[in-house]
Amino acid sequence: MPGITREEVAHLARLARLELKDEELDHFAGQLDDIIGAVARVSDVADEDVPPTSHPLPLTNVMRPDEVRPSLTPQEALSGAPAQEQQRFKVPQILGED
């Protein structure tokens, strides 16, 4: 089983918007490698006839009728927002450069 490289951890950290220091990258790369190794053992046990499991319950087709239910009021919806303006969620600048 190939482990996880330091570069891959740096890439994931960037995708997750986590700022990691060099020593943290080394540290987490080792830890994640152990975790992935442990999980990979499942593959040793499960043969080819065992499909990957994404849902533990044997359920399909749970649907709801297309009927409108009450929404939150805008005030309720915005009550947890760190900042708001014009009844909208206010978010920081999206594009910093260029």
Partner: protein, 502 residues
């Protein structure tokens, strides 16, 4: 912004072969969102249609909208796709404030519909088959307003404001396989495909597919390869091209731009591009590098969708006649040319005409009113034909009144004017405005006699055999009766009295 060099369209096509891929997003017309019961009504107060699920609050659980799935299957079937026996939703992870969950619930490698085609008809009647790769279910994003920059652009904005009413509205994304072999007609094929898809979606009743309201949006992927080559070139992806005309222009522009870059020895950068309505050009957006890593994984909060075959077959049996087939059938029934049919289609007049015919009017009369007077009025008012305050049944009634001789053409026009002005039904307008044709032979005879007496010189000419001069007398009678006489009958009476042969 750098000036983009272009080569002429003909030169580009002399050297290169275009390959296109079209991705169309359709907002479904369901009453509620895809995964929660919030209303999808447009133009409501900001953030008045949200709930813990579509806001992505901790602990909220999504449940899929049954009509959303049904609509996806209908679209898939109409596109001759296979319908998955079993498929899952997936999380498409990205950080961008248009989705409060930080992921979009979509489908990844298990679309509900796949492997289909749509036959599109070009203006000269040629049929081109566009292969469909897949159609999958997902959800729309919230609406951003960028503040502090020039003209609402994201560049230079100090901050942005988010309204999540649209976040979670069901979307179906329909993706074509690479469209090859269209050659110089590629832009035309792109336009015809989107037009046909729009008609299909409307016929299925799953969305109104109004492009100007963003209910249907198109991304145009395009690449060029040297003629005769097998391997595709590098593609660009022009995002959110939102009218039929723009789809054609965007494809055409990209063909010319790619050809210019390639001919001068350059390489095409794989990137998204923005389309500009003003001049039909595109400009570079973000470069698609490996930073675009959505880390898709199966959505654990939604169980798989496994449409029962009985359900799928029931939906298949209920599919309406496909728009292209219906159009060709109507064109033959009405006896009009391909070109006229296109005009009727463009005017949105197909359904009103069909309904008017169903209400008893002859096809040519129904066509005459909807494509003439009514199309003109709709155009003046900037509204759709269907939105005019007159029903097909009322138009059919006017046709019937003309056929029985109660109205002539001019009076019929006035009657329609009255109906449009809210004066009531055609019969009410005729009664209230006193529009019936003067059929009282006595009254008409008097008017004819008066006209002859007042125009003795003309009457003499007619007596002498100059039949053509009768027109002037007919005009005089029509004027005297305020247009309410049957002109043909007036002419007969005049010729009769003057002893001339019509």
């Amino acid at each position: 912004m750098t000036v983009t060099d272009l080569v002429s369209y003909d030169d580009a096509l002399a050297t290169y072969d275009p390959v296109m891929g079209l991705e169309v997003h359709v907002e479904l017309g369901t009453k509620t969102k895809m995964f929660c019961g919030c209303s999808t009504e447009l133009k409501q107060d900001a953030n008045s249609q949200t709930c813990p699920t579509c806001l992505g609050l901790p602990g909220a659980l999504p449940v899929v909208n049954e009509i959303g799935v049904e609509s996806a299957i209908k679209i898939g079937l109409a596109l001759h796709c296979e319908i998955a026996e079993w498929c899952r939703f997936a999380r498409k992870n990205y950080f961008y404030p248009d989705m409060p969950k930080n992921f979009q619930t979509s489908q990844y490698d298990e679309p509900i519909a796949y492997n289909g085609y749509l036959d599109v008809q070009l203006e000269d009647g040629e049929v081109f088959r566009v292969e469909i790769e897949r159609a999958h279910m997902e959800e729309d994003t919230g609406k951003s307003t960028h503040v502090g920059g020039a003209t609402g652009r994201i560049h230079g904005a100090s901050h942005s404001l988010l309204d999540y009413n649209r976040a979670g509205i069901p979307l179906i994304e329909i993706v074509t396989k690479p469209i090859e072999g269209a050659g110089e007609r590629a832009p035309e094929v792109a336009k015809a495909y989107v037009a046909e898809l729009r008609e299909l979606i409307k016929a299925l009743g799953v969305s109104e597919a109004r492009m100007e309201q963003g209910q249907m949006r198109c991304d145009v992927n395009l690449s060029l390869r040297p003629k005769g080559a097998e391997k595709f070139g590098t593609r660009s992806e022009t995002k959110n091209v939102n009218s039929l005309r723009s789809v054609e222009r965007a494809a055409r522009f990209e063909i010319q731009r790619h050809a210019a870059v390639l001919s001068s020895g350059g390489t095409i950068v794989q990137e998204t591009r923005h389309f500009h309505e003003e001049d039909g050009s595109t400009t570079a957006g973000r470069i698609k590098d490996n930073a675009e890593d959505y880390r898709y994984f199966p959505e654990p909060d939604l169980v798989p969708v496994a449409p029962a075959r009985e359900w799928v077959e029931k939906l298949r049996a209920e599919l309406p006649e496909l728009p292209r087939v219906r159009r060709n059938r109507l064109r033959e029934e009405w006896g009009v040319t391909e070109h006229d049919m296109q005009s009727i289609l463009n005017a949105g007049a197909v359904d009103p005409i069909v309904q008017t015919i169903d209400a008893g009017a002859p096809a040519d009369q129904a066509r005459k009113w909807w494509m003439g007077e009514l199309a003109r009025r709709a155009n003046e008012g900037g509204v759709d034909l269907a939105a005019l305050p007159i029903t097909p049944a009322q138009v059919a009634r006017v046709c019937a009144l003309v056929a029985e001789g109660s109205l002539n053409d001019k009076l019929a026009r006035q009657t329609i004017e009255g109906v449009l002005a809210g004066e009531g039904s055609p019969d009410e307008v005729v009664a209230a405005r006193g529009l019936a044709v003067v059929s009282d032979e006595g009254a008409l005879g008097t008017a004819v006699d008066e006209a002859i007496a007042a125009n003795a010189a003309i009457a003499d000419k007619i007596r002498a055999g100059k039949i053509a001069a009768a027109g002037a007398l007919v005009g005089a009678v029509m004027k005297a009766t305020r247009g309410q006489a049957d002109a043909a009958r007036v002419r007969e009476l005049i010729l009769e009295r003057l002893g001339a042969e019509g």
